[in-house]
């Protein structure tokens, strides 16, 4: 049982940035010249760590650098990390669609990779023909597909359209059929990349259930997802990849926590303004703002109540004044507006704050515009995109919806189900 079925040794992958094919000829020639002289590839020495947000010096970047880990038989390994950390690159290498730059890995058993559902579906062929074609692409033999065919069709729930070309399918039907084929692969090692994000609730449950069943049969699963609750409920081990390096690997609970902590926002959740700042005029001066989860945690979660407040100086007495905020999402769509009740205000320093209750915000990034207004609608000061903060998802209960919650907010409302007949 505790035999290693995947071993990854010093695995690295280098990518060249920018447009490939236009300026690489000179690099190719240099490389070829070094090879001719029997020297090491000069470009392997350069290259920087994989950090998507900072502009680098070199044209070469290490998407993965010196990865070492092993996976035991029957283990379900979750792989987490931020966008661009190298998760997908790792899966691509392990499923042999691209090769590593240095290092090696070895695998025991048959591997099936599900980096996408419906790979190789031909729009003009019928569902039936595509099941065979897709199954064969994924590594099944014709006989295997034949024996599983009825089950595949039943699992997909598109019996009725099985002899219709798949180009006439709705996108949901297409995905269902495609996943059904994939779900009936019987590999020793299954590599899955975020395929759960597709399909409706009912289908997602089916997929999760199928993946659980696969792991219960003692098969090994590698699973990449941003959906931490799915990772938590499925995986026994988690590898956290950060900037192309393996930051940590170990028990699910522990690694997910360190991943969340690593993911801390910059310190702009609280900011004290210097003497001079752009949010000052003859009537008003912004002194400070803060966004604080009030249950003492460092990160903001869906279940954290949030205290948001401003400290400002009023330089002239105003007859009627109020503070208000627009809470927007990243696409600058306003999620909601909240304001205080206007009232007269004298010279001096003030604090105004409000609290967003827990279980109100959704798990996404919000951007706050602050408005300071007098006399109904005269703007004293507006600070657009003043605060940006991210809300993290909490662990969801098993059996709950595992997909993405859409909508700007996710309020927990007072739901009740009662029996009305006796």
């Amino acid at each position: 049982m505790s035999q290693n079925v995947i071993e990854v040794i010093d695995l690295s992958k280098q990518y060249r940035l920018g447009q490939v094919g236009t300026t690489t000829l000179s690099d190719d020639l240099t490389r070829w010249w070094y090879k001719l002289k029997g020297k090491e590839d000069p470009f392997l020495k350069v290259g920087e760590e994989n950090d998507r947000s900072t502009k680098g010096e070199s044209n070469y970047v290490w998407a993965l650098k010196d990865l070492n880990f092993s996976v035991k038989k029957g283990e379900v390994l979750g792989i987490v990390g931020n966008n661009g950390a190298g998760k997908s690159t790792l899966l691509k290498i392990l499923s042999r669609t691209t090769s590593p730059t240095t290092g090696l890995y070895r695998i025991k058993g048959r591997v099936a990779s599900l980096l996408e559902v419906g790979t190789g579906f031909h729009p003009d062929l019928t569902g039936r023909e595509n099941v065979f074609l897709n199954g064969a692409i994924l590594g099944m033999t014709k006989a295997e597909i034949k024996t599983n065919f009825d089950e595949i069709v039943a699992f997909s729930g598109v019996e009725r359209y099985i002899d219709t070309p798949v180009k006439r399918y709705s996108s949901g039907m297409y995905v269902r059929l495609a996943f059904a084929v994939a779900a009936h692969l019987n590999p020793d090692i299954l590599i899955v990349d975020e395929v759960l994000a597709v399909g409706d609730l009912d289908f997602q449950k089916k997929c999760l259930g199928k993946m659980k069943a696969v792991s219960n049969q003692g098969r090994t699963v590698l699973f990449v997802s941003h959906n931490l609750s799915a990772v938590k409920s499925l995986c026994s081990q988690v590898a956290f990849i950060d900037k192309g390096k393996l930051a940590e690997i170990g028990d699910t609970e522990k690694i997910i926590n360190s991943y969340l902590n690593n993911n801390q926002q910059d310190s702009s959740l609280r900011r004290l303004f210097n003497e001079e700042n752009e949010f000052e005029n003859e009537e008003f001066k912004l002194l400070e703002y803060w966004v604080l989860p009030s249950n003492g945690r460092e990160n903001i979660f869906v279940d954290s109540p949030l205290k948001i407040g401003f400290k400002f100086r009023i330089k002239k007495q105003l007859f009627s004044f109020y503070t208000g905020v627009h809470v927007n999402d990243l696409y600058e769509e306003c999620a909601f507006i909240t304001t205080e009740i206007p009232g007269p205000i004298g010279e001096g320093d003030y604090e105004s704050s409000f609290e967003i209750p827990s279980h109100f915000l959704n798990d996404r990034t919000y951007v706050i515009d602050a408005y300071f207004v007098k006399n109904g609608n005269d703007i004293v000061m507006v600070a657009k995109k003043l605060i940006k903060f991210e809300v993290n998802d909490v662990q969801r209960l098993e059996g709950q919806f595992m997909g993405e919650y859409i909508g700007s907010v996710r309020p927990k409302l007072n739901w009740k189900t009662t029996k009305i007949n006796t």
Binding site: S99, T101, I107, E116, D124, K142
Partner: protein
């Protein structure tokens, strides 16, 4: 080896950046034979979906081309080497299209399958091989059309003096055409993944190549060294040889047979090497 395998475990897959220069894993390819067959089926059926005439197009195409060739090149009084002109053009066209299909359809293997190759691993040679097999099927169907015309002329005229004992050799020349076409196609597909310039080259290169390959004229149009050079091209050689076997009119020799085979084998080896090099990392450059 930098990484010693300490415990003598058996690993099914060991992946390292640098692998052997020339490798042809027939066992793996055999394991994917069902995929090859399904790909052939897809290639043959998918193109005729939503058509009324369906596979009949396989006959209509050569007939129309032959009619047009016959009309224009007979006006131009191009020699057909004592072979009835219709038969001459039909033979040339049938085998030329087979070669050209082997070349052009494999020449975009990597680019047109990038989406699939990027997501799933299977031996990449499955694609060119399945294309070759579907071309064989298509050729088989078109040869039946050719046979009808051939026997018509054989019975009604006495222009044809077939060399019956050499008939099995036709299969060899078909293989030669296929091998040469595939190797050129694979070479093109390997270089186009990185440098798309070759995409522009291939469309007109194939067109021009036809005029060098004894498709619309016989080799007897040339003489001496010129004729020899023209026939060194395996396509021209194979076409002349096939015509020689079928009709007794054609220019071929054992020397040419050796040269043509040698060129084809060299190109095949070169193409497998290039293909191996490309398939490892083409996803990063495509």
């Amino acid at each position: 080896m930098a990484y010693e395998n300490k415990n003598n475990d058996y690993w099914d897959i060991v992946v390292q950046p640098k692998s052997t220069f020339f490798q042809f894993d027939f066992k793996e390819l055999w394991a994917y034979r069902d995929l090859i067959l399904l790909m052939v089926k897809r290639d043959l059926t998918a193109v005729y979906k939503q058509t009324i005439l369906g596979p009949l197009w396989m006959f209509i195409q050569p007939i129309f081309i032959t009619i047009i060739y016959n009309f224009t090149f007979q006006q131009a009084k191009l020699s057909t080497d004592h072979i009835p002109s219709i038969l001459f053009y039909l033979v040339g066209q049938t085998f030329w299209v087979f070669f050209a299909d082997c070349l052009t359809k494999t020449s975009n293997t990597f680019i047109s399958n990038a989406a699939v190759f990027g997501k799933v691993y299977f031996p990449r040679l499955v694609m060119p091989i399945s294309i070759a097999i579907s071309n064989f099927v298509k050729l088989g169907i078109q040869i039946s059309l050719l046979a009808v015309f051939y026997f018509y002329y054989l019975i009604t005229t006495d222009d044809l003096q077939p060399h019956w004992i050499f008939f099995p050799a036709i299969l060899f020349f078909i293989l030669l055409l296929c091998g040469f076409g595939l190797s050129l196609g694979i070479l093109f597909s390997s270089v186009t993944t990185k440098y798309r310039d070759f995409n522009f080259l291939i469309t007109f290169a194939v067109q021009l190549f036809m005029f060098l390959s004894c498709v619309i004229f016989p080799a007897t149009m040339f003489s001496g060294t010129k004729q020899f050079v023209v026939l060194c091209n395996p396509v021209a050689g194979a076409l002349e040889a096939i015509k020689y076997v079928l009709t007794g009119h054609g220019t071929y020799s054992v020397t040419l047979l050796l040269i043509n085979s040698l060129i084809t084998i060299l190109f095949l080896i070169l193409s497998v090497i290039m293909f191996n090099r490309t398939e490892k990392s083409f996803m990063d450059t495509v």
